[in-house]
């Protein structure tokens, strides 16, 4: 197989030119932290490396808005924003992730409980379509309902609709104080339910497989009183003003089958039980309270596909889905990593409008899109 040509455009115009002047399959690369995610797809002729578009275009601190080029590292953007006491409230743990990659894969971290996911914070974007067309939607004000919001479609599209070149986000202030209540538990379900029914307002409820970390990020007195109330509610718990080591880490290693399970919020205990039974020996973590469970599994038995399909069937009963985020190539040939998808025919029609020749990351997304 010939190696793809890697190009590193320095501007939106150059991205457009690359696409106009080429014809075969194209993939976009940010930091490469999720390069193997999704279905295997068709090998690209051209890889567009976004490292040359890494500028923070405008940080309007008084407006709590930032516009950044898609190749900027999320961590670098946070550093710039931090100077003004602000941050882009997205905390996926993948190191070296770019802003564009975070948007294209819609990844999230523990604080999605309070701030939502990339779709909730993206307020404008610029994209280049497969034929080189440059288009934008949204804008740089938080409140804006003019026109269709293409940002929603491009968020989580895995590069299949076009190249995201610039994003504008709503920002939040960094909270002045933090408390983390750590409660050891194999089954966080009941405590999570009690917290969600209480007036407590944690920014994250992260379960790492052995303990639930209840995070409060607000002003000092509110962090302290809520931490104490959580200990009382739980009947136990250690209070710290620091996040535990490895907080938010995905529970998988390279080479594992990495799964993301979603579910209705109240089904947490049942879903954790299902994951443990179907994927014996797996490591688990949960964005508890948000309906997201991650599992990393180094399968020791041959019927990997049967186990994954078994889990998929079980979580469907909880209105959820199982997506195999990443897996060794031989596993990807055995299972549909995305699983059944609602609205797939509509998605195909959208794809054929935006990319009629099927050039953009072909085969990487749902239903072979």
């Amino acid at each position: 197989m010939p190696e793809p040509e890697v190009v590193r455009p320095q501007s939106v115009e150059e991205v457009s030119a690359v696409l106009r002047e080429s014809s075969g399959p194209v993939r976009v690369r940010g930091g490469g932290s999720k390069w193997t995610w999704g279905a295997t797809g068709v090998p690209p002729d051209v890889v567009i490396d976004m490292a040359g578009l890494d500028r923070v275009v405008e940080h309007a601190a008084g407006d709590l808005v930032v516009t950044v080029q898609a190749g900027a590292l999320l961590a670098d953007v946070q550093t710039v924003l931090g100077v003004a006491g602000q941050w882009l409230a997205l905390d996926p743990p993948e190191p070296a992730a770019t802003v564009g990659g975070v948007v294209a894969t819609a990844v999230s971290g523990p604080r999605r409980l309070r701030y939502g996911t990339p779709r909730d914070l993206l307020i404008g974007l610029t994209v280049v379509l497969a034929d080189g067309t440059v288009a934008r939607s949204g804008g740089k004000v938080v409140k804006n309902v003019a026109g269709y919001d293409l940002g929603k479609l491009f968020t989580g599209s895995f590069g299949t609709l076009g190249v995201i070149t610039e994003c504008t986000f709503r920002l939040h202030a960094v909270a002045p104080a933090r408390r983390v209540v750590t409660v050891n538990t194999d089954d966080p379900g009941p405590l999570v339910r009690d917290i969600l029914r209480s007036p407590l307002e944690p920014s994250a409820l992260e379960w790492d497989g052995t303990a639930l970390h209840v995070v409060f990020e607000t002003v000092e007195p509110a962090a302290e009183t809520q931490a104490l109330a959580t200990v009382e509610l739980a009947g136990s718990g250690e209070i710290s003003d620091r996040l535990p080591a490895g907080f938010a880490a995905r529970p998988w290693e390279p080479g594992d089958v990495a799964g993301k399970v979603t579910h209705r919020i109240s089904s947490l205990s049942a879903v954790l039980d299902a994951v443990r039974r179907q994927l014996p020996g797996c490591r688990i973590a949960a964005h508890a309270g948000s309906g997201v469970v991650h599992a990393g599994w180094a399968p020791s038995r041959a019927d990997v596909a049967a186990a994954l399909e078994g889990l998929r069937a079980e979580v469907a009963a909880h209105d959820g889905t199982l997506v195999v985020v990443d897996a060794p190539a031989e596993v990807k040939t055995q299972v549909d990593v995305w699983g059944p998808v609602r609205g797939l025919e509509v998605m195909r029609r959208i794809k054929s409008q935006f990319d009629p020749d099927g050039r953009m990351s072909p085969g990487r997304f749902v239903g072979g899109i």
Partner: protein, 484 residues
Amino acid sequence: MTLEALADDLVARLGDDAVVTERAALRTYECDGLAAYRCIPGLVVLPRTTDEVAYVVKRCHDAGIPFVARGAGTGLSGGALPREDGVLVVLSRMSRIREVDVDDQRALVEPGAINLDVTRAASPDGFYYAPDPSSQQVCSIGGNVAENSGGAHCLKYGFTVNHVTGLEVVMPDGSVEQFGGRAPDPPGYDLVGAFVGSEGTLGIATEVTVRLLRRPETVQTLLAGFRTMDEAGRAVSDIIAAGVLPAAVEMMDALAIEAAEAAVDCGYPQGAGAVLIVELDGPVAEVETHLAAVDGFCRAAGAFEIRVAADDVQRVQIWRGRKSAFAAVGRISPDYIVQDGVVPRTSLAQVLHDIAALSAETGIRVANVFHAGDGNLHPLVLFDETKQETARAEEVSSRILDLCIEHGGSITGEHGVGADKKKHMGRMFSEVDLDVMQMVRCAFDPDNLCNPGKVFPTPRLCGERPGRRTAAHPLQEAGIAEIF
């Protein structure tokens, strides 16, 4: 098939109480909340189920007859403006709240359900539905989905799109699709996100899964009176700069205050040139800390009177003036236009000065009411039709949108484009931008039958590819944005 034949067919399937054909009865549907645009629909249908909606849409699709969905008819951009050659699908009979599950933080509701009724249904368990447009006592969830409605509290809690997780949609060809559901992050393109805010042009939502939030532990509402708008604006900037995120920050100017006093006797601080309403909610200790900070910023900026509501009765009293403001200007002006534009918050002071200058130049009074926290202006342009001021008022209203665009804002923050503002879309987006947006429409509604003639100034034929145009982008040309 003619509309007459379609009416007979629909009567046979849905019953004659579900089909309106008499002209006098049709006339009651001729406009939504924006009465400047009127059109008597060819036919009105009131379906009761998803199957009935799908049947109506399928018949329209097969016959090539355009159709428009309507909820409560409170929209302010003519988004539900009917077609005289088409069918108006009124969803008021599909108003049930089917399920409330607070442990899943979800409710399943029909599109005709009233916004406030969702909160009422969740209240016994201490939960509520966050988006709260001013019309929430009468507006429908389906209309909220179409318009991506906000409300005073969207500064902190976001818009309808942040609170809808699933949709059942009757597609423009009459098929029924499910997007999303109760769980988060459905795999594939975010069809829920694409549909919410599409102003009824991508299909008809027949069931909506919404998020429910836990009621905050406490709410505090502060009213501050200032001599000038500049002082009030400085207080807002300082509050935001300090990292405080209020649930709502609302501002009114002297003319808006005068109108509200005349209408509802709200008792705002006497002699105020501006009032600020700041609402904080959350855990008690957080709200107390932030309330003290807000009080300090208001005083430092020049507030001469500050009141904090001691209870819900006083809170309602504070909000009464603000919530009545649109209708209240009817007390001080025979006619008025409600404008809806957005500017970056930091441009507020400049834009308000520009609006004042515009008012002085034209002799058209403008009362200002706005969501100051997110820069969403609702200038009320006052005029007297009998004095031939209509054209001048419309000119002022339009020039206010120019100001919003010049400052990098938007032509609509929450009322939508609809029929009213499609002529302005080309000032905010290039033709290519609009063509690309319409690819989404072509994926959903290739025959352009679903609420046609809204949102986009020029409908796009779904076969064509967007041309690579050489003209500069309008924002680039105006020196507002660099090449993207």
